[in-house]
C-alpha cells in the first residue's frame, strides 16, 4: 500500500527507456521464487474449504489471534514500494525519513488500539464504511465506500505496474509477464480463500521481508565499521550535510532538505495524516476487525507498532549505509543520466552488493511477496467494500449469505482485471503516478476527522458526517490544485515557500482535518441529533467497553501500549 508520498522515483522512468538489468539470478534464486508462487497457490487451495460463509470470506471468521492480526496488520502496510521508496528517501533525506515510521505511525497505531478499535469491534462492522453507515447513515457510508473502492482498485493497478517496472529494472523481466503472472496468482488465491488467504500470505510475507532484508544492514554495518563508522564516512563524503539527526534540523524548514519544520511533522504528520491512514484505511483496519475477541483486536495494532518501530532498521538504515559505502552517488530520477543510478534503486543496489546466490533469491522473493500482498490486500478490501457497502445496501438487499460470498469471489476477479487495466493505463500515462499519491491523500485526513468525531461526540448528526466529509475532501483537492505548479502559493498553506511535496501533503491534511471539524460542528448545531438508543455501541459514552482491569498487568493491552510508547520516546532521544 502506498502512503505519504513514497512512490519510488524509478517509476518515473518509462519502461522503454530502461536497458539492461541490475541483478542476475542463479538457478537457486529462481527456485526460491518459484517455490513461493507454488506455496501461495497451495495455501489458497487449502483455505478454500474454510471460506464458505460471508463471515469467513470477508472477515476471516473473526478468529484471528492477536499475533496473526498484528503481523498481517503491519505487513499490509509494509509493501515493496514502501521498502524501495523509503530506502530511497533515506538516501535523499537521511534519518529524517524515519519520522514516517516513528512519529508518523506509532502514536496513531496506539490510538487505534486503545481508542478506536473498541468501537470498530463492538459494533461488529465489517469495514470502515460499514461503521460510517451505522453512525451516520448511508449517504456518508456510500461516499466513503465509493471513494475507497475506486482508490483501492487504482492502487492495486499502480502496485502491479510498479512491481512490473521494478522487476524489469532489477531483473530485466518482461513487464507483461510480471503483471499477468503475479496478478493472476493473487487473484486465484484471494478468490479461493478470501481474507484468510490474504492474511496468511501477509504473515508469510512478514517473515520473508525480515529474513530477506535484515542481512543488508547487518553486513552494511560490519563494512562501515558500526554506526559511528557509518556516520564518519557520511560526513567525509557529504561534508556540511546532516543525515543522522532526527529532530535537530527541524526548528526551521530551511535547516533540512525536506523543507519541513517540527510543527508539520508533529501535527500534520503525527496528529492528522498518520492518524487518518492508520485508523481509517480499511485495508489495515480489516485485518484487526478479523481478530477473535476485543482484547486481541486491541493488542494487534500494539504488536504491529513494536515491529513498525524496528522497520527503519531494514529500510532507513540501508539508505544511510549506502551514503557511506557506495562508491558512487545516486541521483533523482528526473536528473539521472545513462549509467547513473537513482535514489530508489538504493535497496536493490545494496542487495546486489552483499547478497550472493540464494540470499539474493530470498531478497527478490521478499520484494515480490511485498508487491503481491499489497495487491491481495487491495483486492480483498475492495471485494468486501463492494459487496457489503455498495452491492448489498444499494443493489441487492436481501440475498442469501452464499450469494454474497459468490459476489465476493466474482468481484475479486473482476476487480483484479480492472486493476490490470489500470496498470496498463499507467504504463501509457506515466505522469498519472504523480497524481495517484495525491488522490489517496485527499481522502484519508477527512475520513479520519469524520470517523473520530463520530466515535467521540454523540451529538454529531448524520448530515454533519456527510457534509463534513465532503467539505474535507473538497478542501484537500482545492489546496492541492492551488499549490500544484504554483510555488508562490505553497507559502499560503505551508508557511514556507520551500516546502517540498511531503511537507505540502502534511499541511494539506491538517487544513482538511480542520475544515472537517469546523463544518461537522456547525452542521451538527443546526441539525437534529439522533436518539441515543440508535448510537449504542458506536460512540463514546454510549458503549459498554469491556474493562481489562481484572487481568494481570502484563495481559492488558494498555500496559504494552505504554511500553511501546516509552520505547518510541527513547528512540526519539537516541537519534535526536
Amino acid at each position: 500500500m502506498i502512503h505519504f508520498g513514497v512512490l519510488p522515483h524509478v517509476l518515473v522512468l518509462a519502461p522503454a527507456a530502461v536497458t539492461g538489468r541490475m541483478i542476475s539470478l542463479s538457478p537457486v534464486d529462481l527456485a526460491i521464487i518459484v517455490i513461493y508462487f507454488v506455496s501461495v497457490l497451495g495455501i489458497g487451495f487449502y483455505l478454500k474449504g474454510y471460506a464458505k460463509r460471508g463471515e469467513d470470506f470477508f472477515v476471516a471468521g473473526r478468529e484471528m489471534t492477536a499475533w496473526v492480526a498484528g503481523l498481517a496488520f503491519i505487513s499490509a502496510n509494509l509493501g515493496s514500494l514502501e521498502l524501495l521508496g523509503w530506502a530511497g528517501n533515506a538516501y535523499q533525506y537521511g534519518i529524517l525519513a524515519a519520522h514516517w515510521y516513528w512519529v508518523g505511525a506509532i502514536p496513531a497505531m496506539l490510538f487505534l488500539a486503545l481508542v478506536m478499535m473498541p468501537f470498530y469491534y463492538i459494533c461488529k462492522t465489517h469495514s470502515v464504511p460499514g461503521y460510517l453507515q451505522l453512525r451516520y447513515g448511508r449517504a456518508t457510508s456510500g461516499l466513503s465506500a465509493i471513494t475507497f473502492a475506486f482508490m483501492t482498485i487504482l492502487m492495486s493497478g499502480v502496485n502491479m505496474y510498479a512491481m512490473a517496472v521494478v522487476m524489469q529494472v532489477i531483473l530485466g523481466w518482461n513487464i507483461h509477464f510480471s503483471i499477468w503472472v503475479s496478478s493472476l496468482t493473487v487473484g486465484i488465491y484471494v478468490a479461493m480463500g478470501g481474507l484468510f488467504s490474504a492474511i496468511f500470505n501477509e504473515v508469510i510475507q512478514f517473515f520473508l521481508i525480515w529474513l530477506g532484508a535484515l542481512l543488508i544492514p547487518i553486513l552494511g554495518l560490519i563494512e562501515a565499521g558500526g554506526w559511528s563508522g557509518m556516520v564518519a564516512k557520511i560526513h567525509e563524503r557529504f561534508a556540511g550535510q546532516d543525515f543522522t539527526h532526527l529532530w535537530g534540523p527541524m526548528l526551521h524548514p530551511s535547516q533540512n532538505p525536506m523543507g519541513v519544520q517540527w510543527i508539520a511533522i508533529v501535527f500534520g504528520l503525527g496528529a492528522v495524516l498518520s492518524m487518518g491512514y492508520w485508523t481509517t484505511d480499511f485495508l489495515l483496519v480489516q485485518r484487526v476487525i478479523a481478530a477473535k475477541d476485543i482484547r486481541s483486536a486491541k493488542s494487534a495494532p500494539i504488536i504491529g507498532a513494536f515491529f513498525k518501530m524496528a522497520v527503519p532498521f531494514i529500510v532507513i538504515l540501508p539508505g544511510l549505509l549506502a551514503l557511506a559505502v557506495l562508491p558512487y552517488h545516486l541521483y533523482p530520477a528526473n536528473v539521472a543520466t545513462a549509467g547513473q543510478h537513482t535514489y530508489d534503486q538504493v535497496l536493490p543496489l545494496m542487495m546486489a552488493r552483499y547478497l550472493g546466490p540464494g540470499l539474493l533469491g530470498l531478497g527478490i522473493t521478499a520484494l515480490i511477496a511485498g508487491f503481491m500482498s499489497g495487491m491481495a490486500g487491495n483486492i480483498s478490501a475492495f471485494a468486501t467494500v463492494w459487496t457489503y457497502d455498495l452491492y448489498r445496501p444499494f443493489i441487492k438487499k436481501d440475498a442469501t449469505d452464499q450469494h454474497y460470498v459468490a459476489m465476493g469471489r466474482w468481484c475479486t476477479m473482476i476487480g483484479l482485471l480492472v486493476s490490470i487495466g489500470a496498470a496498463y493505463i499507467v504504463t501509457h500515462f506515466g505522469s498519472l503516478m504523480d497524481y495517484v499519491q495525491a488522490l489517496f491523500s485527499f481522502f484519508i485526513a477527512p475520513l479520519f476527522g469524520t470517523v473520530i468525531i463520530g466515535m467521540l461526540w454523540k451529538r454529531a448528526t448524520k448530515k454533519a458526517g456527510f457534509w463534513g466529509l465532503l467539505a474535507g475532501i473538497t478542501t484537500a483537492i482545492t489546496i492541492f490544485v492551488l499549490m500544484r505548479g504554483h510555488p508562490e502559493r505553497v507559502a499560503w498553506f505551508c508557511f514556507y515557500a520551500g516546502a517540498k511535496s511531503l511537507a505540502q501533503q502534511m499541511w494539506q491534511a491538517l487544513w482538511a482535518f480542520i475544515v472537517v471539524v469546523v463544518v461537522s460542528g456547525v452542521v451538527t448545531l443546526v441539525t437534529k441529533p439522533r436518539p441515543e438508543a440508535e448510537l449504542r455501541g458506536l460512540v463514546m459514552g454510549l458503549t459498554d467497553i469491556p474493562s481489562d482491569a481484572h487481568l494481570p498487568l502484563v495481559k492488558r493491552p494498555v500496559f504494552w501500549a505504554g511500553v511501546c510508547f516509552v520505547v518510541f520516546l527513547i528512540l526519539q532521544w537516541i537519534f535526536r
Binding site: I35, I43, Y46, Y50, G61, E63, I204, E223, G358, L362
Partner: protein
C-alpha cells in the same frame, strides 16, 4: 468455520517455507564456500550461517505448530 476441521495455523506454513529456504540457502553457501561470489564481505559466508538460522527457525515453527490429532 467448522469445528471438526481445525485450520492448520499460519505459523506451520511459514515454518515449512522458512525451513525449505534455509536448506537451499545453506546448501548454496556450502557449494560456493571455496569460490565465493563477487560480493562485499563474501568471506563471511553469510549464506551458511543465515541458512542455518533459517533451518533452525523453520524447524522450531514446524514442531511447535504442527497439526495435532483431534482429541476425543
Amino acid at each position: 468455520m467448522s469445528e471438526e476441521r481445525r485450520m492448520i495455523p499460519v505459523w506451520f506454513f511459514a515454518g515449512i517455507l522458512i525451513f525449505i529456504y534455509g536448506i537451499l540457502i545453506f546448501a548454496s553457501g556450502l557449494v560456493e564456500w571455496s569460490h565465493p561470489p563477487a560480493t562485499v564481505l563474501a568471506n563471511l559466508h553469510a549464506p551458511v550461517w543465515w541458512g542455518a538460522i533459517m533451518i533452525v527457525m523453520g524447524a522450531m515453527f514446524i514442531q511447535l505448530f504442527r497439526p495435532k490429532k483431534a482429541q476425543k
